[in-house]
Amino acid sequence: MSKRAISVEQLSKVYRIGVREKSHDTIGRSVLEFVKSPLNNYREYRSLYKFTAAELSDEEGHEDLLWALRDVTFGVDVGEVVGIIGVNGAGKSTLLKIISRITPPTRGTVTIRGRVSSLLEVGTGFHPELTGRENVFLNGTILGMRKHEVDKKFDEIVDFSGVEQFLDTPVK
């Protein structure tokens, strides 16, 4: 009996995309807009993450909304290898971002058994002023490892990197 490692249920994610602004044909209008712009900016930034119930329940008809994912459901069992294929803008990255907890879904749930680490992001936490050794520990813990886990894997990591003699030099 195989166990579920990842199960994704009815996952949806909506983004607000930019809509072309109306241009102003008089100086007076432009000045008025300029004065009002802090308020407009505030509304715009707020609208990036606030969606009304009506916007979310209508399927179509909101030209500034982009449903990157809509009602996605699938499961991955322990030991399974799954690839996701799609054209540009199909929602592959959005899906992976939700699974790795970088961004929350608008609707739906993901249940994960185990630890998620995305290979895409190797080196994210590298800092040029830190030594190789310090960077190994920093990045290991960023990936959710505890210090003692990094200790255990340390030699393996150094062997893999093949730069043992530079371990105590800042990586820059």
């Binding site: 993450y49 971002k97 249940t111 998620v116 920093l138 813990t141 505890r146």
Partner: protein, 269 residues
């Protein structure tokens, strides 16, 4: 380990998760400390130089030129006991407020408890604070200050001194990631805040009818507390207690606000 990701709007901090990430917190703080003075000649001497220059400038301008009334305390001593904790609070608050914007590379690529971003500089700046205590001790020895039992208050004041920038830092970091205005406002905020508390002048200059409102400022509590604790002047509880209450409220509200907002950080970078 089972993780469930939902669209739920808000939940309080997951303490088990924070505990799991404590090693990361340690390395982030270590990185901040190490990187701050990297490639400088003076290194950690900057932690002494920065407040020392301020103390000298203020002592000349406010102590000599303006000759501000300090209840009989020598101005150098009067300002040093205030500027040392103030420098920590303002540095920690500024760094904390910019922490998310500076860390946005990481924010958009990998998950770990977001609150580690604003908390890291709060701890890292304590190193500078500890080093700058050298100035405090030197000035106190120069003026032959005798220690009193008031010193027992110090641990509580240190906690308050850390709580203030933590609370404000969480508020400001969560705001700054969405509104970059915060970065520009911070420069003014710090300049104004130094006058909001009895750092350069004495609290006794405040008219009695405004005392209560004045004392709600948690910075007032920390500064007044430091002064009576280190110099042995009578403890003005009316100045200290209200501010301590606000600092706790600031911390709790900051934590709640940050937690509420952290879900949208990535979508608004």
């Amino acid at each position: 380990m089972i993780v469930i990701i939902t669209a739920r709007r808000w939940e309080f901090f997951d303490f088990a998760e924070l505990k799991h990430y404590r090693d990361l917190f340690y390395f982030l703080v270590w990185r901040d400390i190490k990187v701050l003075y990297a490639q400088t000649v003076l290194g950690f001497a900057w932690a002494i130089l920065n407040p020392a220059v301020q103390i000298v400038v203020f002592s000349v301008i406010f102590g000599r030129v303006a000759a501000i009334e300090t209840d009989g305390i020598p101005y150098l001593l009067f300002s040093t006991v205030a500027i040392i904790p103030w420098t920590y609070m303002s540095d920690a608050m500024t760094a904390s407020s910019q922490s998310l914007v500076q860390g946005k590379q990481m924010l958009g690529k990998i998950y770990f408890p977001r609150v580690l971003f604003p908390l890291t500089p709060i701890l890292a700046k304590l190193v500078d604070f500890s080093i700058s205590l050298v100035i405090l001790v030197a000035v106190m020895m120069y003026h032959k200050v005798e220690l009193t039992w008031n010193l027992l208050l110090l641990p509580f004041l240190l906690v308050a001194m850390v709580l203030v920038p933590t609370g404000l830092g969480m508020w400001l970091a969560a705001l700054a990631i969405r509104y970059r205005d915060i970065k520009f406002a911070m420069a003014y905020l710090i300049k104004l805040l130094i006058y909001s508390a009895p750092i350069l002048y004495s609290a006794s200059a405040i008219p009695t009818e405004f005392r209560f409102w004045y004392s709600l400022n948690p910075i007032v509590a920390v500064i007044e507390g430091f002064r009576s604790c280190l110099l042995g002047t009578p403890i003005e509880w009316l100045y200290i207690v209200p501010g301590l209450v606000t600092s706790v409220l600031l911390f709790l509200s900051g934590a709640i606000y940050f937690r509420r907002m952290e879900r949208v950080f990535v979508d608004v970078i």
